[in-house]
């Protein structure tokens, strides 16, 4: 249970856009981590995927299972043994102007010695009855190392200006 909630770092994309958020040297002094991402793609798409890697690892040891709902229905999808993990979608410039995603990543026991799981919910703020998608995702990084780096990046292109990522540390003791 979270008893303290500390904003470790926050950053916002400037006018030139950015291809990634890279949180490094994450201290191991918390119980869990949470990242809140408000992001928009600079590309001319309705939706763009957002991916994550831990500790700079591109080894094919990531897996995820996704439950999704979109304007055409709902379903599930997943991948195993891939080089990153999908965490959600963000609107691009073809979507309603100035709309952003709302992605919440929760990483329990990130400094422990077991494989690392992560749960994610993602809801792009599309303001449209079409071209929207909601995702609930269960993610696994099959590595027992403590997580000290989180690298967040779009499936392609850049995060647009004003996209923001904030990393929180959560403790179960005061």
């Amino acid at each position: 249970m979270a008893l303290t909630y500390t904003a470790i770092a926050t950053t916002t994309v400037g006018s030139g856009g950015s291809a990634a958020f890279d949180f490094t040297s994450i201290p191991s002094t918390y119980t869990d981590l949470q990242i809140l991402l408000s992001a928009r793609s600079a590309d001319a798409v309705f939706l763009r995927a957002v991916n994550v890697q831990f500790n700079g690892s591109s080894s094919s040891i990531y897996s995820y299972k996704q439950l999704y709902g979109f304007s055409g229905g709902a379903g599930s999808f997943g991948e195993t043994n891939i080089a990153n993990t999908f965490v959600g979608q963000m609107p691009g410039t073809s979507a309603t102007v100035s709309t952003f995603s709302n992605v919440s990543l929760y990483i329990p026991n990130y400094a422990g010695s077991t494989n690392k799981s992560m749960s994610v919910d993602s809801a792009p703020e599309i303001n449209s009855s079409t071209n929207w998608q909601l995702d609930l995702t269960a993610n696994l990084w099959s590595n027992t190392s403590a997580i000290n780096r989180v690298y967040i990046y779009p499936g392609s292109g850049n995060f647009a200006q004003y996209s923001t990522a904030t990393l929180y540390g959560i403790k179960n003791t005061v």
């Binding site: 990634a20 999808f77 990046y153």
Partner: protein, 77 residues
């Protein structure tokens, strides 16, 4: 001239933030990811479309059997 891709690096110990160019390895990873995701996304969309088509086909057959639209939709949920 191609665009130089950059990343925002946040050192969580010092609070220092830097905008740095992506490494060649990171660029290669992005390209591989984009190709892999395009394939996965196409598979997901195809599966969703197939499920929607199967549902519509099922409803049509139920209607042909004489069920009302409300009954057919209830069975197809």
């Amino acid at each position: 001239m191609s665009e130089t891709l950059t990343k925002i690096v946040v050192n969580c110990e010092t609070g220092e933030q830097q905008v740095l160019p992506l490494t060649a390895e990171e660029i290669a990873q992005r390209e591989a990811d984009a190709a892999a995701f395009a394939v996965a996304e196409a598979e997901r969309i195809a599966a969703a479309e197939a499920a929607a088509a199967a549902k519509a086909s099922g409803i049509a057959k139920l209607l042909a059997l004489g069920l009302t639209e409300e009954e057919a939709n209830a069975l197809a949920k």
